[in-house]
Amino acid sequence: MLMAEFALLFRPLKRLASLAALPFALLLLAAAPAEAGEVKVAVAANFTEAAKDIGAAFEKSTGHKAVFSFGATGQLYTQISQEAPFEVFLSADQTTAKKAADDGFAVPDSRFTYATGGIVLFSKYKDLVTGEATLKDGKFTKIAIANPATAPYGAAAVEAMKALGVYEALTPKIVQGNSIAQAYQFVDTGNAELGFVALSQVIGKDEGSRWIVPAGLYTIIAQDAVLLKKGAENEAARAFLAYLKDPEAKAVKDKFGYGAGD
């Protein structure tokens, strides 16, 4: 069907015919969401890989399609506050999701914790990261974190460094990624020798060296989801939020090292 449309389009003499068919094609497209819906989801960068897997399983199981936009939580929230067309917000923390509800952008009482996450000190170089001693010795030139002002995983990294009493000493060596994704990219390209990243980003990788930061040094990151006002009437949006609690979604979270949340 589609191929035929293309063939028509490229045969100049038949171009008019294909143009005449266009309204019908659009009508078909517009009619389609009646059965299989679509939900636009703003996703905190740390949850990128898990969200993709959950999205694929969600589509297979419900027929609805989830379209993701990834970014730092603060950045996504700014967009939401400026009427971005997102319907579900998967924040990397609780405060931003709560703020969305308090400021009137989210459906009240739709908020729940969809995952809990931890941070890990990671380097792509073998033996560089051995434990908290690595931070105390400070034998490196650059350490990457996510921007603590916009990314909860960055704030957790700062909290852990402060708990270890190394934050002051390490401050000149800190480089900030715009999100936890960019922080990991800095580490992965070797531009920073090591960095605090999300456990989910490195859990499947065997190379490099790592230290899983003990939970006592920072507050484990509880990540909340909310249904945004724009998605209040969208069945697919509600279905996606429900699916986050599905055993299949839980299996994906487990695979990426997240706790299941509520």
Binding site: G74, T78, V175, F186, A192, E193
Partner: protein
């Protein structure tokens, strides 16, 4: 009232970056512009095209390649190794390199145009008066091409101030080192500190207006014969 020192730091850094980049742009851009204006080589347009590429490339393309080139496995990492560092990314020097590449077309193009506008005659006359090529360049070509130099310098400076995408990718948001004005504004917007964003963004509006207005007035005055 927002903290003045906090707002001043990215402004000062940006001015430093733009000043150093502009000096380097003029130093590197002038010989290139001269060669492009005077050389009979037909392949020079290929060189001109390479220099003009940042005009059409998304800053992310430049940012991506710079990140690799400045990193520990690229030439930048090698240079950094000479003084015991590992990478030129996340450094002021790295931003200078990025800015020079990114703003080069804005400097080379007006200077080249100015050199071309001089034509052969004044230089030939100078040659008959036994001015050496070096002498001809400095005492004839450069003064006659002055409008081009001013336009190039102003545009190069302003464009460096306005740089964002490249810095976001290779900067690492370090206060006092790579957190320039455009990044600071981005940060304030993302963290909903809009009063600070307003101060810096409003300042940029005024700055841009002044630059463009000054350019237009300058061009009018310099362009007028006998002025």
């Amino acid at each position: 009232m927002p903290d003045i020192a906090e707002l001043w730091s990215p402004i000062r850094l940006t001015l430093e970056l733009a000043t150093i980049a502009t000096v380097l742009l003029l130093a590197i851009g002038t010989p290139i512009a001269w060669w492009l204006a005077r050389s009979p080589a037909t392949w020079k347009e290929a060189v001109a095209a390479v220099i003009a590429m940042p005009l059409v490339l998304p800053p992310t393309v430049l940012g991506f390649y710079l990140l690799i080139a400045l990193g520990p496995n690229g030439p930048g990492g090698w240079v950094a190794g000479l003084y015991g560092a590992r990478t030129l990314a996340f450094t002021f020097e790295g931003l200078v390199i990025g800015s020079v590449l990114f703003s080069m077309p804005f400097v080379v193009q007006p200077i080249r145009n100015a050199f071309e506008a001089i034509g052969e005659r004044p230089l030939e006359v100078a040659a008959t008066l036994r001015a050496s090529p070096w002498d001809r360049f400095w005492t004839v070509a450069v003064p006659l091409a002055r409008p081009g130099f001013i336009t190039g310098a102003v545009l190069g400076f302003a464009h460096t101030v306005g740089e964002f995408g490249v810095v976001l990718m290779i900067g690492g948001n370090i206060p006092g080192e790579t957190k320039v004005l455009s990044i600071a504004i981005f940060d304030y917007v993302e963290t909903l500190q809009w009063s600070k964003a307003h101060i810096l963004a409003g300042g940029m509006l005024v700055f841009s207006f002044c630059v463009i207005l000054a350019m237009m007035l300058l061009e009018k005055r310099i362009g007028r014969p006998g002025a």
